[in-house]
Symmetry: C3
């Protein structure tokens, strides 16, 4: 298994950079969208992302069972782009799942994937602003920070994108 | 045209670093302040910045028409410090201007500047905290992220300043 | 005096990285906790940190008088981990102290420490999100940014930790 983690702030260009990394593998491009469409604003964001990345992607939509999708679709011919982990964490919290358990599951399932698998995770850096006033936001950024740490530890490469410019952290 | 983009968080030292970059050109130093003074707190911040950078700067105050100022004042003898883009975006939003159009205008006008021009843009990184609850703040950080990406693509150098320490991103 | 500053967002792994830096000195490990326990959430965080770092640390709890503790406990045999500066700033603000004065005091007392002293400061990056709506949060991030800048200027090393991965800024 080869895994890459691409972090960045809002509108940092992290998705486009990840799409480029996946395209450069020369494999079948699989886009795993974790977004659930709650409102018009979200629908608009999703539509814009779709136009931006082009038509030559296979689309899988899965808001919760990331482990299941990875185990089913990872193979030597595909590269899977998981976009994005922070939305997935939001979905887990909204569905009142055990987020720590689900996060640990993803990390351990990653290590069980076939050697030829290729996965690229996109996620938002959300922990570099002021401490949020509400408990749910604080929990959310704790979950995100913990997941980023444990994923980064097992990923082959970790990138941080700012203003469209990638920095290699690992 | 030589253009530099200096990004950083609040009180990161990005303005001081930009002032140093402009001073090092040995050119006439022009300070383009985009701030509009809404209240005492803002007046206080502006006054402190003024004292910090010293008296040997020509000052231009322009909250909206960035393109016009750049076209009028850029020449082979001056270096213009635009401080800062995030305030300029705020001004555009308050004045209900088309922010995407204005951002695209700045980028394209930059490419039309004379070869000898030297411009340094300062801007706040605002997209690495929790997703803001209100739509206007989300729009704002989307505008900032998009502008940073498109400017970074045409700038010769991009820096990120943390705790007064510059990192070169490009 | 050897001083190190370790910055990072929430749950970035900055504390663990700092603990490693202190352990690598081979000196007596002193943990200076600045946290005041306001509620159960804070108590929980503190307890988790304690378990994580293990039992072989001497613990000093001091919410306000950082300068006093550094002057008293720094010696050639110890390495002191100050965790963390952002909580210390919060305590100063809650106690209505002069934060600028206290910050300047810490920096200047650091320069007066014996040559053999070893100190590692941990602090949160809080200035890379949207501008906070409330004045107290804006003041807080201004204080944090200013303190980080002035400390970074006198520290021997400055690190920024993201997803558990340290980047050397200085």
């Amino acid at each position: 298994m080869t895994a890459v983690l691409v972090l960045g702030g809002a509108r940092s260009g992290k998705s486009q950079y990840s799409e480029r990394l996946v395209a450069e593998t020369g494999r079948r491009k699989v886009y795993l969208a974790t977004s659930e469409i709650w409102d018009d604003e979200m629908a608009d964001r999703v539509a814009k992302h779709r136009i931006q990345r082009g038509d030559d992607w296979d689309l899988i939509e899965e808001p919760l069972d990331l482990t299941g999708v990875l185990e089913k679709h990872c193979d030597a011919k595909s590269s899977i782009l998981v976009d994005c982990l922070t939305l997935w964490l939001t979905n887990l919290m909204m569905a009142e799942k055990d987020v720590n358990e689900a996060s640990a599951d993803v990390v351990s399932s990653l290590l069980r994937l076939p050697k030829e698998a290729h996965v690229c995770f996109v996620s938002n850096e959300v922990g570099q602003g002021i401490v949020p006033a509400d408990k749910m936001s604080r929990d959310f950024r704790d979950h995100a920070g913990r997941l980023h740490q444990s994923l980064a530890a097992v990923c082959d490469e970790v990138w941080f994108v700012t203003a469209g410019l990638p920095q290699k952290l690992k």
